[in-house]
Symmetry: C2
Subunit: 240 residues, 2 copies
Amino acid sequence: MPNPTAAMLVIGDEILSGRTRDANMHFLAKELTQAGIDLTEVRIVADEPAAIVSAVNALRETYDTVFTSGGIGPTHDDITADNIAAAFGVHIGVRDDARALLQAHYARQGSEFNAARQRMARIPDGAILIDNPVSIAPGFTLGNVHVMAGVPSVFQAMVASVLPGLTGGAPLQSQSLRIHRGEGDIAGPLADLADRFPDLSIGSYPFQKDGAFGANIVIRGQDGAQVQAAMADLQALFAD
Amino acid sequence: MPNPTAAMLVIGDEILSGRTRDANMHFLAKELTQAGIDLTEVRIVADEPAAIVSAVNALRETYDTVFTSGGIGPTHDDITADNIAAAFGVHIGVRDDARALLQAHYARQGSEFNAARQRMARIPDGAILIDNPVSIAPGFTLGNVHVMAGVPSVFQAMVASVLPGLTGGAPLQSQSLRIHRGEGDIAGPLADLADRFPDLSIGSYPFQKDGAFGANIVIRGQDGAQVQAAMADLQALFAD
């Protein structure tokens, strides 16, 4: 049975302008691979209502699960929650349980629970809150879309809150071999190997750095014995 | 006049599986911002023909320029050139000038110019070659799509070959201020500031690390004097 599929939508001008290097995608990719969920597409869009609505609708209709990161804080440029509600065509407003969580948190901190902070309790109708043990302001799940923060420590905590509730497939088995030859020298035998193991994914990832060059060959599949057999063949082909 | 827009398409299972952390997007984002071209959307798709064709067609119809990275090497999993040709509905085959470049390169190296390496001379009809001073195998430009390698050193060299030929807009001016207060405390005045400077983009990027927290406020715009004026207001608002 094929694994469930997932997509990620990163919302953030700061990534597209090159100001910030995104870290959440790489984190989520590793977590999903371990859980047996295939991350199949990622999109990064700007803080623009139309861009968010059209991307979230395209992705949620195509993939089993969608994760978003970014744009759920208290400032004027945090527009994700409103546009998720717009994408689903549902109402959004301050929700009592989210409001209570935040009110208690800021009371403990001695900070004012002002209008900006109350914005973080605005949740689309029908959503389920995602626990945020780091900074309390919750994410939410609406349909198959999990809406999470962009700050990496909070994003990671929210992924930990969401992942156990998802149905994964067989975790991917993976083995790799580093070969210090040009890809052009190994491409022929490698293609033959890929033909002999049609259930496996065999990728060649070239490197070229500081004068050294070659390729990392990665063999992936759900059947560990097959991965092992293909790796034995690969090692025999390119034994130095 | 608004700046020209660009999109990037990253093609690679190794990014989606979490094996590799993409570096090309962050590099390109910074280069385009400097050149006055707005990177507006990024997509990452797997090494799958249908995914590549539909993403490249969606992006080239929406944005002024599209950059792709990955999948133009000699191995069986390098399928980008064929699928760019398919997206444009044009023929692809070995081209004499690309073949001559590669043949001379491998002759100098004393490597065999075998069938796998000849694959890298397959170029869609109507394309213009992109110079690759690092490892010779060229990228290509077809219509508004620049097709480049995934290996970062080669990708960067190809960006350097392509960028001078593109028409940029006004480079974005940007200033930032780090504020050690919770976003909830600064959100109200910040929204007022954004209202007073409608031509500027004012973003708030929270951080939370090792017990310290706050936000980096970034003010961006094409008019340096306006950026300067808004920054002066911002500093006055949050002078500690």
